[in-house]
Each structure stands twice: as C-alpha cells, then as structure tokens.
C-alpha cells in the first residue's frame, strides 16, 4: 500500500503543501478560489507549529477510523478498494462529529462551515499535490511494505497469512518470489511479522523511524 508519510525532521514550515492542496482542490477556471466555490476549495493539509517545530497535519486514512465510527449520517466511510476514508458530500450535514473525534486534526470544516473536508489523496494524479510540492522531501508518497528478494526463499507463508489476498508468488529469474499488489495491501504488517526469513519489513513503523520521531518531539520542546 502506498501512503503519504511525513519526515518532520525535514519540514521547514514553508506551507507549499497547503498551497498546492488548495490549488488542486479549486476548480481550474476560478480566479478567487474561496469566493467561487466555498464548499470544496480549501486546503486539506495544515502546517501547524508545535512548540518551535512545524508539522503538517493531515488525514491518515486510519483503519477503524474514529471519524467513520462517529459519523451519524453514513457520509464518512471506509472504501475497501482504495483503503481510504472518504466523504460522501451528498450525505454530510456538517454536524462535526468527525471533527470532534479525529485526534489528528485531519478532518476540517470547509470555508462556510457546510461540509467537512479531508485528504482525498489526489487519486486522479500519480503523486498527491502536497507531496509533489514539498521542496524538502518532508512529505513522501511511498510503499509501506518493502521486500528483500535476497532473503525471500519463496515459501509462500506470506500469501497464506495476508488477509487482503494482496500477495502472490511469482516465478522470477531468481526463483519463486513473493510480490505484493499495492492496490490491495492495507499495510497491516502481518506478512512482515510472520516471515521466517525477515525478507519483508514495514517501511514506516521501523524501530529506527519511531525512535527518530520520539527524539524529534523531545527536542522540539
């Protein structure tokens, strides 16, 4: 599964991601975005200062998302095909249950407080606008699950444990190797924890990355 990741060591707080997001979600022919389409023209990523450190807030498309559980009209829903949490604007009545329940501040009211807005991961383009605009590579769009073919012996255990049927065994020049369909992968990490050869690992939740993040939080205060 591909997802938007943040390396906040690299974020300098330039807010180019906000502007790119706003531009992407504004109809192309409008000159003053907020005036033309108050309903949907607004950026869905926000750079906030935490202490002295800038940090981009955005939707993480959680599994078992608190905003989906809280939505009382059924507008906020999890889309199993894309692995994303999306809003059905037709159903949203702006009751703010989702805003109240999102601990990441990733769901926001729109300009005139009539609908909620959140990251839609810019699915119509290969790279999300915020990632594309980030000059410091603080925002990246990456595969969550990584594999080392040198270690994979083709045992097929990962195929069996994957709850999303995302992994298949493929005959390559170097023998049978596991391959993941990133459309189906939800990044649950079952494959990496069950691989007896350590051939699969999670790109995001590594001990190094987590300890980097913790250090950074401590340093920023």
């Amino acid at each position: 599964m591909k997802t938007i990741l943040v390396d906040f060591e690299k974020c300098v707080g330039c807010r180019l991601c906000e502007r790119a997001c706003l531009k992407k979600h504004t109809p192309e022919d409008s000159e003053i975005p907020h005036e033309i389409d108050k309903q949907l023209s607004k950026q869905r990523v926000h750079v906030e200062l935490a202490g002295t450190r800038p940090y981009p807030l955005r939707c993480r498309h959680c599994d078992d998302a608190p905003c989906v559980t809280a939505c009382m009209t059924g507008a906020m829903h999890f889309d199993p095909e894309t692995g994303m949490v999306n809003v059905d604007y037709d159903r949203c009545i702006a009751c703010w249950m989702c805003v109240m329940n999102c601990p990441y501040g990733g769901v926001l009211p729109n300009e005139d407080y009539t609908k909620v807005l959140k990251c839609d991961r810019c699915l119509d383009v290969p790279i999300p606008a915020c990632v594309d605009a980030c000059p410091k590579d603080a925002l990246v769009y990456e595969e969550v699950e990584m594999r080392d073919d040198n270690l994979c012996v083709g045992c097929g255990l990962c195929v069996e444990v994957c709850p999303f049927d995302a992994i298949t065994m493929v005959q390559t020049e170097r023998g049978l190797k596991a391959r993941t369909n990133s459309e189906l992968c939800r990044g649950c990490s079952l494959c990496s924890t069950s691989c007896p050869y350590g051939a699969i690992f999670m790109n995001y939740h590594t001990t190094d990355k987590l300890s980097d993040q913790i250090k950074e939080v401590i340093r920023s205060y």
Partner: protein, 409 residues
Amino acid sequence: MEHYKYVIVGNGIAGLRAADTIRSEDRDGTICMVSEEPFLSYSRPLISYYIGGETTFEKMFYHEQDWYDKRDIKLELGNAVVRFEPISNRLTLKDGKEISYDKLLIATGGKSQVPDMPGKDLDGIYTFTDLGTTQKIKEKIKDARRAFVIGGGLVGLKAAQGLVDAGLDVTVVIASNQIMSQLLDETAASIVKRRLDRKGIRVILNTSISEVLGKDKVEGVVLESGDEHECDILIFAKGVKPDLKFLKNTEIKTGEGIIVDNHMRTNIPNVWAAGDCTETFEESFGRSTTNLVWPRASEQGRIAGFNMVGIPREYRGWFWMNSFQFYGLSCISIGNIKPTGGQFEVMINQNIREGLYRKVILMDDKVIGALFVGKITTIGTLNGLIKKQVSVKGHKEDVLEDKLALLVF
C-alpha cells in the same frame, strides 16, 4: 424454528455496526436482525433534518436492501420480540415466528414517554425518537401552525429547528435555567440562544407544562405558572430511557439499563448488549450509568460485534461529548465543562459579538474539558489529549489555539 449463529435485536446504529463488524470478521455465520420498526437502519439524529426538509426520506438510510443481501444478513423488520428465553436461547416474534440463536445482541436503544398529566392522550402529542412518529409529525404539520416542544436538550432544540424550517411558530419549554444544560455553560448557551431567537425559536426557561388542553386533539398547553398558550402540535423531547420492555421477567440483569461488562457482555454468557439500552461503569462519572448518546452507541456496537465473533475488544469508557450546528453556529463540547470545586484551572478566549468562544478546563496540567463555539477546527486533538490524559504543562497557551497536534501522537 429458524436458527441463526448471530441474532441482533434492534435496527439502530449499535445493531448495524455490530452486524457490519460480525460480517467482516465471520464470512459464513448466519446473521439475523430483528426490529419492531418497519425500516432498514436509518440515522436517528437526522429525523429533525427530515422534518425541516433538509434531507429526504431516501437519505435517512445508511444502506439499501442490496447491502444486506450482499452480506447475507436476514432482516425481520416490523416484527417485535414478544417473548425472550435467554436460558433456552430462544426468541418469539410478534407474528409467531420462533428464532433460536448461538449468540444474541440486544441493541434496542432508548424510548421516550409522554409524562403523566391531564390530556396526555390527545391527538397531536408526539415523542421524538423514531422515524415512524416523525412521518406522522410531518403529515400533521401540513395543517398546523403553532408547536410546543418540551425539553431544551439537543434533541428538543433540533426538533424545534426542524419545525421552524417547516414553517411553524415554535416555542420550547425548558425546565432548567439555560438551554442544553448538559452540553453548554451559561456563556455558550447565551450565544446559541441568541442565534435561535434570531431565527424565531421562542424559548421559555425555568418552567414546564402541567396540562394539555383540548377535546380530542391538542388545542393548547398550560404552563406551571398557570399561563395558557395555544398550540396544535406538542412534542416531548426529554426523558429518553433504555428500552427494556422485552426483558421483563427474564434472567438478564438490568438496572437503569442492561448491565454489561467492558466487553459488552451481559450476565448471560452468550448475550451481549450495546448502545443506548446499556448501563456501563464510566470512570469519568465514577459510577455505573446510562448515557443515551449517538457516538457511544456506535462505538459499543462495533466493540460488541468484535467480541461476539471472539476477537476481544475492550470498551474503555466514554466521557460526555457532543457536537452540533444551529443555523451556521457550530459548537463542540467535550468532557467536563462545568467543573465544581477549587482545583480546576479554566482558560477562556472569547469574542462574544463575533460568536466565538473557547473554554478549556485543566486539572493537574491535564485537559479535562473543552467547549468551542464558532470556530471548531482541530478540537479533535483536544479530545485525544483528554482521552490519553496527556500533561500539557508548559503549553497551556497553545491549548486554546490550534497547536496541539504533536502532543497527541
């Protein structure tokens, strides 16, 4: 007799979430949903929007019939449970059908009742919790002009908003000295009340009604003060209590609601309960209590679903929260917003004229309550802080601003 692996009584959000969760974890187990209401699961909070014409009948429903068919969820709608034998795992329905089960979920929600008073059975008196009654109200308001709503909580005021939007002259009668006394402090209540005044919703505080006037239909009400007012619709929107009627004389242990443990299990091992009908121990209240609010019901339904298929999930308690919008004025209230005693620290940031008000309550450097009116962006991060009991020492000023993202993670 029909047999199902899972039977769910109630078509509210707790029942629906449980059915959805069970099906996603157990692809083969048979599921049956039983409800006395003749409708597919619909959004109960939307009934006021339906009255006001802001939403359509079709949009009230979470899913169409097709969704249930695809998941092989059998429905017994409009078919109330008349007999329940938990020891022999058996239910008898209104039409005489008998159903047995391996595992049962009770998610019957809450019911409100018209209090005892002269004239309480007249035509034109309604409660405000279900779609069937709402359809009757919608029919009735076609030739009604004046409405009285009893109860100044969120349900009552939303009902009033719906009726005003439908073109009626509306008065709300509230027993306490402010609107929404559970959700708002006095300042916030006055901001919201001003917005309601401006839209023509009349509010009478510190009183209730003592008699309903009329021959065979409602013609007026008498307030406790003796004042008489004309009206042709009367809506009771208070005193919603867990609906326990089919549990009478059964082995299921009940107090105010059905008593469940933190896995939503009742005293009978293969019977679970979730949503408004339950009574749970709440740390934030310090006692076992019922709490008839939507997000709690939704969460409990999901937790019960997981536990019923054998995946342990714990209910970690709930604290008071709700969010709403009246005519463009947004408000979110989380946790303890009316502290009593001395060891609290209250921080307020306000601009009443602009309709902006922010109040955060701290105890031992931890956030215990937050009330935002007007601009509500990122209050969810405060919700996270309350839930996780994070100390905000050294960042107290940031709490009133939108600067708390990092403390949560």
